[in-house]
């Protein structure tokens, strides 16, 4: 076997269309690069947006011209990576070191199951998704539901009173939002008749679910905000009450991982809202990926806006909102869907089996 045949076989192995498509999917668009760039951009954009809401200017110096401050996050991350990792005396050493590193992994894993747009290819229609399964909404929501348990574990493993309080608050909050998330996602799944995000998007060709199921959208958006721990629901962090909640003890790399996981979660949640209720990549003229990014950006703006506008809820107010408002609203939406399926099935995109 001479060298030319080896090179030829290597070329045949790596320089072919499926392999390059796979590389693009895994490394660039829905895969690794997209959440990484999103985190850098989102932190800067959040600070700029909140500054504008407060009639300030915001970050200004690290970066060129109108993008001033965009490299601030990179500078901060480099600074944090140099810092000492302090493990508290009372901490459970193994869990304290492992759990914060597991957080971004699980968040990024959820990103792998999200289809972003149809892939421009010859042959059969392909989608920009790292790993396709017809039950991807279940997988994404399940991976999402792991995050609060990591939070509880981290809070306990840090062995400090503030982290423990933050973890308990996260546990309470989990009770408030997890059920509405599932119920409102169930509305979409009922109407579509499929757990497949691709089918869910394609069934919105005539009418977006934000118009057909407005209550479910509201419930899903609000409980997603609680799931992310964004400002009106940042009870587990609550800087003014319990130093930084469950993440108080983290320094250096651990802190970078925790913050990175939070922003990747924001990315995943915005993708979910876009796909479930805003018609995903559907839209005229522009390419599908561009439509997806536009809708995604709008959802991100609304997620970030909560921090500049609303005050933090108390834990009892959140539980009240979850159990007395969000869950009944989601049940009402399910009831409306059932009534529609019985009396006006032509509105729904898919006919119910036995409806």
């Amino acid at each position: 076997m001479n060298i030319e045949t080896i090179i030829e076989s290597l070329v045949a192995l790596f320089i072919n269309r499926p392999f390059i498509e796979m590389l693009i999917k895994v490394l660039i668009f829905p895969g690794l690069m997209f959440p990484l760039l999103f985190v850098v951009f989102a932190v800067w954009f959040e600070r700029k947006l909140l500054a504008k809401v407060h009639l300030r200017i915001g970050p200004l110096h690290v970066g060129p011209g109108p993008l001033g401050g965009i490299f601030q996050l990179i500078a901060d991350a480099l600074k944090l990576l140099q810092k000492e990792i302090i493990v508290p005396y009372n901490a459970h050493k193994i869990l304290y070191n492992i759990l914060p590193l597991a957080m971004p992994m699980i968040s990024l894993a959820a990103m792998a199951f999200i289809p972003v747009a149809p892939f421009p290819s010859v042959g059969p229609v392909d989608y920009l998704v790292v790993f396709y399964t017809p039950y991807n909404i279940l997988v994404v929501l399940a991976l999402f539901a792991i995050h609060p348990f990591l939070v509880i574990g981290v809070g306990w493993a840090s062995g400090s009173k503030y982290t423990t309080m933050g973890a308990l608050r996260a546990a309470y909050q989990l009770l408030a939002y997890e059920v509405p998330v599932m119920l409102s996602a169930a509305c979409v799944v009922m109407v579509t008749g499929s757990f497949d995000l691709i089918k869910i998007v394609e069934s919105q060709a005539n009418i977006w679910y934000i118009l057909l199921l407005p209550i479910a959208f509201l419930v899903f958006f609000v409980s997603m905000m609680a799931e992310l721990g964004r400002r009106p629901f940042d009870i587990p962090h609550a800087e003014q009450e319990i130093v930084y909640g469950w993440a108080t003890e983290f320094t250096g790399v651990h802190y970078v991982c925790v913050m990175f996981a939070e922003y990747v979660n924001l990315c995943v949640a915005s993708c979910l809202v876009t796909l479930l209720f805003l018609g995903g990549w559907l839209g005229p003229v522009l390419p599908p990926a561009a439509w997806f990014l536009i809708k995604f950006g709008i959802v991100v703006v609304f997620f970030l806006m909560g921090r500049g506008v609303y005050p933090r809820l108390r834990i009892d107010q959140l539980l009240n909102a979850g159990w007395r408002i969000l869950i009944p609203l989601a049940l009402i939406q399910i009831f409306i869907i059932l009534v529609l399926a019985k009396f006006a099935p032509w509105i729904l995109p898919v006919t119910f089996v036995g409806g």
């Binding site: 809401v53 407060h54 009639l55 200004l60 500049g308 506008v309």
Partner: protein, 150 residues
């Protein structure tokens, strides 16, 4: 009731979105400076030709910021910016109007000894720094309410 509840949630959101396109109150200070108001005093500036060395300014100064020093057999005021309370008495009581408050307010120094202005330094009117881009005016300034929100 439900309607007012929804309005109470949506109204601050709408206000926040309106704020995005509004005038910003932050001034990028080293590059842009605020215009001072009409009666702003700042630090005193000395006119050597008018000064008769009577020492009224040193006597009237509540903080002892001004001391009289001898320069070439004549007495002149020496000014300590670290002690000054910017009341303007020295300029007000000056018999020959040799001292004037001219509005210079950038008095920070790295060295404490630079805060003392001997007469030859007190003469100089503080120049506007050359790299300044422009002077910003406060948008809405009224005597009754002060600066109002956009």
């Amino acid at each position: 009731m439900v309607f007012s509840w929804i309005v109470s949630i949506l109204r601050p959101l709408g206000m926040a979105f309106r704020h995005i396109f509004k005038y910003r109150f932050t001034v990028k200070y080293p590059y842009y400076v605020l215009e001072t108001s009409e009666r702003y005093r700042g630090r005193p500036v000395l006119d050597l030709a008018k000064c008769v060395g009577c020492g009224v300014c040193a006597t009237i100064c509540p903080n002892k910021a001004i001391t009289m020093v001898n320069v070439e057999d004549r007495r002149y005021p020496q000014f300590d910016a670290g002690r000054c309370c910017f009341c303007g008495f020295c300029a007000y009581f000056c018999l020959t109007s040799a001292l004037k408050m001219n509005g210079g307010y950038e008095l920070s120094e790295y060295d404490k000894s630079n805060l003392i202005y001997p007469p030859e330094k007190l003469v100089k009117v503080p120049p506007p720094p050359p790299e300044r881009k422009k002077v910003v005016k406060l948008k809405k300034l009224s005597l009754s309410t002060g600066v109002t929100h956009g």
